[in-house]
Amino acid sequence: MEYFLELFMGGLTRGSIYALIALGYTMVYGIIELINFAHGEIYMIGAFTGLIVAGLLTMLGFPVSAILVIALVCAVIWAAAYGFTIEKMAYKPLRSAPRLSPLISAIGMSIFLQNYVMLAQTSDFLPFPELIPHFDFMDKAGSIMSSAELVIILATIASCVGLTLFIKFTKLGKAMRATAQNRKMAMLVGINVDMVISATFIIGSSLAAVGGVLIASHIGQINYYIGFIAGIKAFTAAVLGGIGSLPGAMLGGLVLGLTEAFATGYVSSDYEDVFAFLLLVLILIFRPSGIMGKEKTQKV
């Protein structure tokens, strides 16, 4: 039972990170029907910003908890700026182009950002400081869950709840929902669609940056390539949950994380990815729109 619980918590942690990144994929898809393949790189840039800020603050002698908060804030701002700029540079000029063009532009952006960070920073792995202080809050023998895992899960829950409330109750949230439903109609009733799209990118990027800083602090190392695999997994999670749906992205992330954890724990870590993608295939066979996705009738 203890083993099961440990795996469960590990899977939940990993799934939370997937969920945080997947929210960005799913929101962007919901609004402009684009798979933003550069989103994983935003997560990586968030982590790098966190590293630089944390290093600077450590030199100035700030306490760890303050460093964590400031690093998170800076990472969010910086990553949001990247998200905003990417949309303006790579996607906005292509908004009326065939759907394949922005997709290719996204892949190009992803490769560009990877190489940019590699050249600007280094291709080596860098140590990431432990920003989440380690404390034993359960009995020592158990250590079912570490403080870092708890913080990650709580931060994810807080972000998700905050985002849901934001979308439900604010004016901008309403405008986002309207734009997602029908962009032309939203424009006709006076919604500034450009602003809504920018806001979507900013929010998605912020969430990814939070995920990046938290997980980097948990596992203690980053390099320019971490966004690629995390991005692919989060994209999978978004599709799994039903791309375009916010609760779907969260659920998809958690399901994917737990599947991987249990596949590792009860079968073999050799088969981690096999089971994760097998799950994806099965879901797509039986529910082509994902767990929470809505069937959309194609207009001819």
Binding site: I17, P127, H134, S146, A148, N223, I226, A261, T264, D270
Partner: protein
Amino acid sequence: MRVKLSLIALCLVMAAMLAACGGEAKKDEKHDEKADVETGEVAAPAKKLVLGVAGAHSGDLASYGLPTVNAAKLVADKVNAAGGVNGAMVEVMPQDDQCKPELATNVATKLLSDGVKIVLGHICSGATKAALPIYLSGKIVVMSPSATNPPLTQSGEYPNFFRTIAPDDAQAALEVSFAKSLGLKKVAIIHDKGDYGKGFASFCKQFIDADPAIEQVLFEGVTPGAVDYSAVVQKIKGSGAEGVIFGGYHPEASKIVTGMRKKGLDIPFMSDDGVKDDTFIKVAGKYAEGVYATGPMDFSSNPLYQEAVAAHKAKFGTDPGPFFPEAYSAALALLNAVKVAGGTDYNKMIDALHTSYVDTPVGKIKFDAKGDAEGVGFAVYQVKDGKYVEVK
């Protein structure tokens, strides 16, 4: 009309450029002739011997590959200062494969088409394996300072392949006997599913299975680059292992060891020379303390070794990285073979490598019938106060 005009203009520009190039070449020729007339003799064509250096020079494994390039440059400088090899100046030609097999074959093809006859590299076993058939078909002699996969030499398929490092099975045997000397009875073996890591782990498993005194309780691969390894760490914990042997490179090793220590799993962590690298200590930080890793023997008392390190410090201003002494030795051995063979004749060079001794930083070596250097081996190191210290 406009289009036509611009087309014509373009053609003119191109023609002018071509003419300019041609003119320059002609001028150079003339200049040479003149020089000959002045000195009264035909200038000997500048003889050069190209030493290809293949390996990871960028990407996350660059810290293993770049020391080899530096070593090659230092040896080339030293040999050139002494008049070259049989009068030919040595020129180093680095080629980056990022330790990726698919890039390694490109690199090999490039070196082959450039007419290179001796290659120092590759760094990773997987890349080496992919590139060797191309070198064999082109009759190029290859010597790796770091590819430790045993079949590379032991299969006998590649008579053109040599190495200045002992193969993995030697390392695995040492690892297992060291685990036994620590009093471990149950060991978990983890690897990174790669040619090198899994190969090493499988050898450890073989030796452990053959020994009734020690038992293997877990044998698994992890996916490099995965978001975290907490599930594997749980599994190690659940398996009741008293120690962990990891086969692979430092990024995964530091993630696993960090996860283990954070979960309060304080059992010995042993790994291979892919982890015996200062980058590992830098990344794993305080969690690296106490980690064991096997690596090439320490040759720091050898005067040639000291000379090589001093040269590195003088030229590059830093301490050399991993596999530097092996790479330096391999470069010396290759150039010595060319010298003994009196040229780059394939068969003669191979004969020379098998028969004539050469003094190198890793000792006085020649190569056995399979291509492994005689007399090099491994030692066990442990991280103490942020440094690898040999365990006596």
